[in-house]
């Protein structure tokens, strides 16, 4: 039920702060378990079923749909009040860092469902090595649990969400249990050409894992499998799944999905959570601090009702923060009291520390084999069908690479919908053609470009963190975050390796690299925050002195306070974080249900 404010007279068991991947999963799991849940979302209420511009054309949009400051991923991108800037909610950089490689750009979405409305839907499991990185190479820190501990949650999350992919038996690239994954879509021409070129290079090209339904879910059967002992959960989940259509392969996922074929919490998790009757949702509620009692237990949260600009307090037995990695750290740091002078749950001083993003570098190639191809009907569909998992474990172990940790490759190309930027730079291929010649060249080159994007693991370091800025507040009166950022040679070395590898692939395809690839990793690497995989800031661990949370996402210091977003990450494997956030939020939710049942919280 959507409410303007928490319902008077309802004693909430749990407050969930945020409605993105972590908050959406927690809200669903806690509500189907019979708990009274209050979800507070800082952005506005949003409904993809009525608000998604599925078939709208660039020509009807301002500036033909080009990205702007307010809509950085283009006019039709699902994001509301978000991007690397949010109106009225600034953040700052360490002195001297603005505009340099030490800048961190913080992406946020202020809307129901958060950034799950816009993301790329790439859903890769962390593998056994990824949970114990320090044990393997001495760098960073280990997670307090193993892959085997989390694997059942990956299986169930994939069943619930609907993930396509295949099982390949590759090193540290886990297979799902039989029957869990949806069948992957067929490769596109650009993907076939790339596969062929990669084979002699020893680079595996396999079906990607993405949160998109290729076939409709069988609601009753899946709900029985996921919730064998919970009739309420079976009822609401089966009904929700039966209302989801399979993908119709026509549009870009970043716009959102009105037929509910891809995963966003607003179409997949929040509707069944609400259908239980146990979940109340208040939008436009910007949480600023966790409140605590004299015994040091969380009593609820302070939030600003943005529509009236008034400060409010909501109470519950348990508080779950899932506001996004940096926002969660900000709330904790801002929750200062005489008991918690450094902020709640920050006795270790580690809240905000070990902030990580993904290492990114990219390259484009022009491929003659893809010129003048006949049209095909599936050009509208966005999102990768194939990808390359990290393949150089043995070379790395043998010390041949000069950097630690790996990356995977997202790539693609084809005759996508013409939009802003189409044929920019074509003059370099045509010697400046115009006139009838231009039209012929456009037909020839359309669909002949292929992009490669490396997505690699960053090792947490002491110089990358966020803290409250003592001098600046946002429009709600909340102190803002100041970011400190530094890449290490491991990351820049990896970025350079990406660019060299992509150049090799383009050449193996008989193609030509677009532009001049950088020869310096520091120039090849994307800025911190640009890949929008920021995690860390409240890491899990086995020791309260070196971590903020235990393996259940539970605060060491405040036992009824939990974190269920990317803040809990100990490392940031090259596997895009959303699937792991979902699986870990489920694991945390199960623990909360069990502990509440035993009277421990």
């Amino acid at each position: 039920m959507f409410l303007r404010e928490p319902q008077a007279g309802t004693a909430y068991d749990v407050i969930v702060v945020g409605s993105g991947a972590g908050g959406g999963m927690a809200a669903y799991q806690l509500a189907v378990a019979g708990l009274k849940v209050l979800v507070l979302e800082a952005g506005r209420r949003y409904d993809p079923v009525t608000e998604t511009p599925m078939f709208q054309l660039p020509k009807d949009a301002p500036l033909r749909g080009a990205g702007t400051r307010e809509k950085p991923f283009g006019f039709y991108d699902a994001t509301v009040d978000g991007g690397w800037e949010v109106p009225g909610e600034p953040y700052t950089q360490a002195p001297g860092a603005a505009g340099t490689a030490n800048e961190f750009r913080w992406w946020r979405a202020r809307m129901l469902g958060g950034r799950t409305n816009h993301w790329g839907r790439i859903s890769l499991r962390m593998g056994p090595y990824d949970f114990k990185p320090k044990t393997r190479d001495g760098l960073g820190a280990d997670w307090p649990m193993t892959y085997e501990d989390v694997a059942p949650y990956y299986d169930r999350t994939e069943l619930l969400v609907g993930i396509y992919g295949s099982t390949e038996g590759l090193e540290n690239t886990p297979d799902s249990s039989p029957g869990v994954l949806q069948p992957p879509p067929a490769p596109r021409p650009s993907e076939l050409v790339t596969m062929k070129a990669c084979e002699p290079l020893g680079i595996p090209v396999i079906p990607a894992h993405r949160a998109v339904l290729t076939v409709r879910q069988n609601g009753a059967a899946l709900a029985r499998q996921i919730h064998p002992d919970n009739a309420l959960a079976r009822r609401v989940l089966a009904a929700s799944m039966n209302g989801r259509a399979a993908c119709f392969w026509a549009t870009e996922c970043g716009r959102g999905c009105s037929i509910r074929a891809n995963f966003q919490t607003t179409t997949v998790l929040l509707p069944p959570a609400m259908a239980t009757g146990n979940c109340h949702l208040v939008a436009d509620a910007m949480v600023r601090a966790v409140s605590v009692d004299r015994a040091g237990r969380a009593t609820g949260v302070h939030y600003i009702d943005k529509r009236t600009r008034t400060d409010r307090h909501a109470t519950a037995k348990v508080v779950v923060l899932a506001a996004s990695a940096c926002e969660t750290a900000r709330i904790l740091l801002n929750s200062k009291s005489s008991q918690f002078p450094q902020g709640v749950s920050n006795g270790s001083g580690l809240v905000g520390k070990y902030l990580m993003d993904t290492v990114g570098a990219g390259l484009q190639g022009q491929i003659p084999a893809l010129e003048n191809l006949p049209p095909y009907h599936y050009d509208g569909a966005g999102g990768i069908h194939m990808y390359m998992p990290w393949w150089l474990y043995k070379d790395q172990l043998a010390g041949k690479l000069g950097f630690a940790r790996g990356y995977h490759v997202e790539f693609g190309g084809g005759k996508g919908m013409p939009g802003p930027g189409i044929f920019g730079g074509l003059e370099n291929f045509t010697g400046g053609a115009y006139g009838r010649k231009y039209k012929e060249e456009a037909r020839r080159y359309y669909g002949s470009f292929v992009f490669f994007d490396g997505r690699g693991e960053m090792i947490p370091n002491e110089d990358s963190y966020c803290a409250l800025d003592p001098d600046v507040i946002d429009q709600w009166g909340i102190p803002v975050l100041r970011f400190h950022w530094k890449w290490s040679p491991h990351e820049t070395g990896q970025a350079l390796h990406m660019v060299k590898t992509f150049t090799q692939i383009v050449e193996a395809m008989g193609g030509k690299v677009v532009g001049t690839p950088p020869t310096d990793g520091a120039r090849a690497i994307a800025r911190g925050g640009q890949i929008i995989h920021e995690v860390g800031t409240c890491r899990m661990g086995d020791d309260p002195r070196t971590s903020v949370l235990n393996q259940w996402g539970q605060s060491w210091e405040v036992k009824n306070l939990f974190v269920a977003d990317g803040a809990s990450f100990v490392s940031n494997a090259d596997k895009n974080p959303t699937l792991s956030i979902l699986a870990l939020a489920w694991r945390t939710s199960d623990y909360i249900v069990e502990q509440l049942g035993r009277g421990e919280l």
Binding site: R45, D47, E51, R64, T308, H313, A369, H385, M417
Partner: protein, 220 residues
């Protein structure tokens, strides 16, 4: 669930609000009424899911091109149309750029309030002025009245920056930007998409395998 304004001494609260209101020494009746109305928003049913309609939260279902005032003059648009059609003329497969509204699109682009667009306005206005000066110098006619051969004589000098003479560098940059904008304007129309063979954006029952014809073409 009480707001903490209740905890703040009322006199202090009034001081804060008066300070926020700037010149207002005390809250007047209208401000008090507005405050009461705002407090009422705190109760009642939850607001609907609906865009605010500004640049951060536009209505995506009913889009329309930028609504800002257009800046190019009718005279500039005549020259621009002629140049757009030099870049994308009609042929057997599709119409010309001006026939599908490309000059109006470029006018939308250069009239937009953002810095990058304002810079484009300067370059494109200046470029159009240069183009007519050059046409008058070489052929004693404005660009729009040149023959195809005469237009080509000028455009060949400015169509590719790396090959343009030093005195044509600025004009070549102008030409390059107009060419890019013309391409975006043209190929985002239905006629332009049809020309390229873009046939996506249509619901399909399943994602099809690459056809034998395409497989053969890519040597797979």
């Amino acid at each position: 669930m009480n707001g903490s304004f209740g905890e703040l001494p009322r006199r202090e609260a009034l001081k804060v609000m008066a300070a926020a209101a700037g010149a207002l020494p005390v809250l007047d009746a209208a401000a008090m009424q507005a405050q009461a109305a705002q407090a009422n928003q705190a109760t009642g049913p939850a607001p609907a899911a609906r865009p605010r309609g500004d640049a951060w939260d536009p209505d995506l279902i009913h889009p329309r091109p930028g609504t800002w005032a257009r800046k190019l003059t009718p005279g500039e648009l005549i020259t621009l149309s002629a140049l757009c059609d030099t870049i994308i003329p009609a042929d057997a497969k599709s119409p010309s750029a001006s026939a599908v509204g490309v000059p109006a699109w470029i006018n939308e682009f250069v009239s937009a309030p953002m810095d990058g667009n304002q810079n484009a306005l300067v370059r494109i206005r200046g470029g159009l002025a240069w183009l007519n000066l050059e046409s008058n110098t070489r052929f004693r006619k404005p660009y729009a009245r040149l023959t195809a051969t005469e237009r080509t004589a000028i455009c060949d000098d400015i169509c590719y920056l790396p090959r343009a003479k030093p005195e044509h560098q600025a004009a070549a940059r102008f030409f390059d930007q107009v060419r890019d904008l013309t391409a975006v304007g043209f190929y985002t129309t239905r006629e332009g998409m049809q020309d390229l063979g873009y046939i996506g954006n249509v619901a399909l029952p399943r994602f099809p395998e690459v056809s034998a014809e395409v497989k053969k073409a890519i040597g797979y």
